[in-house]
Structure formats: C-alpha cells, structure tokens
C-alpha cells in the first residue's frame, strides 16, 4: 500500500527509492574521491607501474565476470517481483548472494597470494590504495550480500512479502552501483 509517508517528490517517487539514490550520491563522493586521489597521486609520483605489475589481472577479470553476472541475476529478481513471482525472485536473489560470496572468496584468495608475496598496505603507496579501494569495495559487496540474503529469506517465508518486495528494487540499485564502482576499479587498478 502506498501512503503519504512512503511517497515523496511530487507524489511520484517512492521515498525508499529517493533515499537509496541519496545514499548512492554520497557513495559516489566516497568512492569517487578515493579514485580521484589514486589517479592524482599516480600522476604525481613515479614507480607505481612496477608495483601495479604484481596484481593478478586474470583473477580480477574472472571476478569482474562474476560481478557482472550477479547484476544480471539481481535485475532478474527485480523483474520477478514486478511480475508477482515470489519463487523466481527468491531463486534469483539466492543466485545473486552466491555470486557475491564467490566474488568475496576470490578476492580473499587474491589478498592471501599478495600478502604471501610480501605485498601489504605498507609496502608502497600503490598497495595502500589497492587494499583501501578494493577492501572498501569488498565491504560494500558484503553489505549487499547481507541485504540480498535477508530479502531471499523474506521471499522464502512469504509472510509480509508484499511489504518487503519493493525493497528488492532498492537493494538492486545498491548492488548495481557496487558493480559500476568495480567497472572503474578494475581497469584503474589492474589494467592501466
């Protein structure tokens, strides 16, 4: 049910959606500021390319594919909600959660290899940025996994689903944003 409290901005945009876009705007500044600092410091200081050569672009490319695929399953979950299919929504949410966990697992494996080879945040400025940027991104993936898992459980139970269902779209917006951040992080850290 749509009430006055849940609708904002001329009665057209649900307040939940408006709130998640405000949140994403702040996230743009957070990640954007860090990415801009990375680019500027890289231009300003030398020797970064030697350090950047040690990251594993192949593993990161696989992780990019995982995240892009999770965006597909997330948007399919939203579509299932719009079509009123709770069962399909639950299935796609579960796939998204599993892909998110896969991303985190691969990232953990990558970290362990790098630390094993002696590349820690204190090794060089590149590694400080590397762990800061990818670590913050991984925390966002973890938050998305938890939100999607909560929605998956709600979809499985079915009780109160009508009230919860619109949140799949909001969780999806967040999840796709995290994907967009990675789309820029991947070439910046691993390819350039």
């Amino acid at each position: 049910m749509t009430t006055a409290a849940t609708v904002a901005a001329g009665g057209r945009i649900p307040s939940g959606k408006l709130a998640i876009w405000w949140f994403l705007a702040s996230e743009i500044m957070t990640f954007g500021g860090l990415l801009a600092a990375f680019v500027l410091c890289r231009f300003a200081g030398g020797g970064w390319e030697d350090q950047a050569a040690h990251v594993n672009a192949r593993i990161a490319a696989v992780n990019t594919l995982v995240l892009l695929t999770s965006s597909l399953s997330m948007v399919q979950a939203h579509r299932a909600v719009e079509e009123g299919s709770r069962g399909r929504a639950a299935t796609f949410l579960l796939i998204t959660v599993l892909l998110g966990l896969t991303f985190l697992g691969v990232k953990g494996f990558e970290y362990s290899r790098e630390i094993e080879h002696g590349f820690t945040p204190s090794t060089a400025p590149f590694w400080s940025f590397y762990y800061g940027l990818t670590g913050l991104h991984a925390l966002h993936v973890l938050a998305g996994v938890l939100a999607n898992a909560a929605l998956w459980i709600a979809a499985l139970r079915g009780r109160g689903w009508a009230r919860v269902a619109p949140r799949v779209e909001y969780a999806g917006l967040y999840w796709h944003f995290v994907d967009v951040v990675w789309i820029f992080l991947f070439p910046l850290v691993y390819l350039s």
Binding site: L18, W21, L24, A36, F43, V75, F177, I183
Partner: protein, 92 residues
C-alpha cells in the same frame, strides 16, 4: 506499455557487458601505445557503466530529480579533481 519496453533483454545487455569486458582486456594486452591503451580501456569502462546504469538501474525511465541527485556528485567530483591537478600533479 509492452513487456519488452518495460523490461529490456537483460541477457542481451549482459552479453554486451561480457563482450566489452573482453574488448577491455584485449586493449590492455595488445601492443597499443600506453596512452592509446588507457584511453580505450576507460572508454570501454564508461560504456559498461552506461549500460548498467541505463538498463539495470533503469535510469532510462527515471525522473529528472533522480538524474539530478546522481549527477550532482559526479559533477562535483570532476570539478574537485580538475581543481586539484595543479597542486598535486604539477607540484615539484
């Protein structure tokens, strides 16, 4: 509104994203000049981000208010970065 108009082919968009991922990787590993490779890699990244934002985040059917909320920090960020270039990059 038809179902196709409301829901674009998400699988087709995913296929484009994967194709662009492959193109981006090829740009990084093929023997282009450094500047050209970086330009191509980031052009591909912008194209991927555009596809996700437009189709998966449904920006193509959003109101001006949402564009304003999302666009303002992007503009601020670009301005901030450009303003810092003389201080950080050219400071010796």
């Amino acid at each position: 509104m038809s179902d196709t108009a409301r829901f674009p082919s998400y699988v087709a968009i995913w296929s484009w994203l994967v194709a662009l991922l492959v193109v981006g990787l090829m740009c990084a590993f093929l023997p282009f000049g450094k500047a050209m490779a970086i330009f191509l890699i980031f052009t591909v990244a912008v194209a991927k981000a555009f596809l996700v934002a437009r189709h998966y985040m449904h920006l193509r059917s959003e109101s001006l208010l949402i564009y304003a909320i999302a666009g303002l920090p992007v503009l601020l960020l670009i301005g901030l970065t450009i303003a810092l270039v003389p201080d950080i990059v050219f400071r010796r």
